[in-house]
Symmetry: C5
Subunit: 95 residues, 5 copies
């Protein structure tokens, strides 16, 4: 399950009905790639999270009929990227 | 769920029956990779969209029997790529 | 759904029964990566096609019990790669 | 099925209910990419393992209702990376 | 469906029950990435094979309850990589 950082919420007026009222977040991975995920745990910008893909993502959204293929699975309590480690930054409490 | 930009419609006379009358779009990601997706929301060239993959893509097409593995999930209201940001371009209203 | 070019047929005497009599093609993507796909539409070498992945690929093969995860979804009528565009090559009619 | 090395356990207080009591591990692949997986076999830091993805990952977790898309499938008894080989390191017994 | 070369068998004493007695092979793709796959066709080191992913992989293993997401689909009779072609090497009969 991939590890990404929450960047922001996503505003998307014209979207498929199947997304229902799901909250959408923009996430960024360590290479800077940006993805959209459904957020059932209330993550905030800056949080490091891991995501669930595929059919499990729909169950993880709390309602199998929510049409997502990427859902936040949890907020990681302490996370340090290689860049943090190199810079000697203190381990971030991101819960 | 990946974020891509709509490039054009795709004309494809010889295609599997399972695609039925689905509208096909050519999408491009930030690295220039081009993909084909079913479009249930009426996106136009230039729109930034996010896409749903896998079995969810068939539900998202509005009819589970449509044989797609990539369907547009929504049109993003405001989107700015890193290139836009660097160039100080105003945030595009792409809804 | 990825866009690739048909390279050749694939000869494969020892293969799982689940592939039944499916025609196998070698496809190449714009980066030169080669993949094997089931061909239900009769594509020929040089054709540009898009492919369907995952469980949809088995329906697309025309028989859900055909054990493929990649099936040609359609032959693209007109396709121009970035290289073609740069070289000013006329748009190829590849239907 | 990908081959990765176990780095550590993952502490994640706020996580979806669907993960139940599953043990979460941080795994690293040979390119340094870090992923989260459910661990049903009791792997320890330093172990080389292979992982199962997709719907099979949920069965592999021992309970199909565990919402994972990546689960450790086994601990590899002897594993040597290309770097080990180049450095002439003795094959590691990592079972 | 990806094309890889069989490198060796994989010894894995501590593995999930769901793998039953399936034979495991280490495969290498043209970029040197190594993967583990279930082998239902008796491939030997040096054989070029194509693999089936996802839920189809479990059917391809001959028993849907075998928890794999990658299974060898067939042994390719004649295969030539770009390196072989460049070196003018005779097409390898690898059946």
């Amino acid at each position: 399950m991939d590890i990404l950082r929450v960047e922001s919420s996503l505003v998307c007026t014209r979207r498929i009905e199947g997304l229902k009222q799901a909250s959408l977040r923009v996430l960024t991975n360590v290479k800077g790639k940006r993805l959209v995920a459904v957020d059932p745990v209330g993550a905030r910008p800056g949080n490091w999270v891991f995501v669930v893909e595929g059919s499990a993502a729909r169950y993880a959204a709390g309602d199998f009929s929510v049409l997502t293929d990427l859902t936040i699975g949890g907020i990681i309590d302490y996370w340090e990227t290689e860049q943090d480690e190199a810079a000697g930054a203190p381990k971030q409490k991101v819960g």
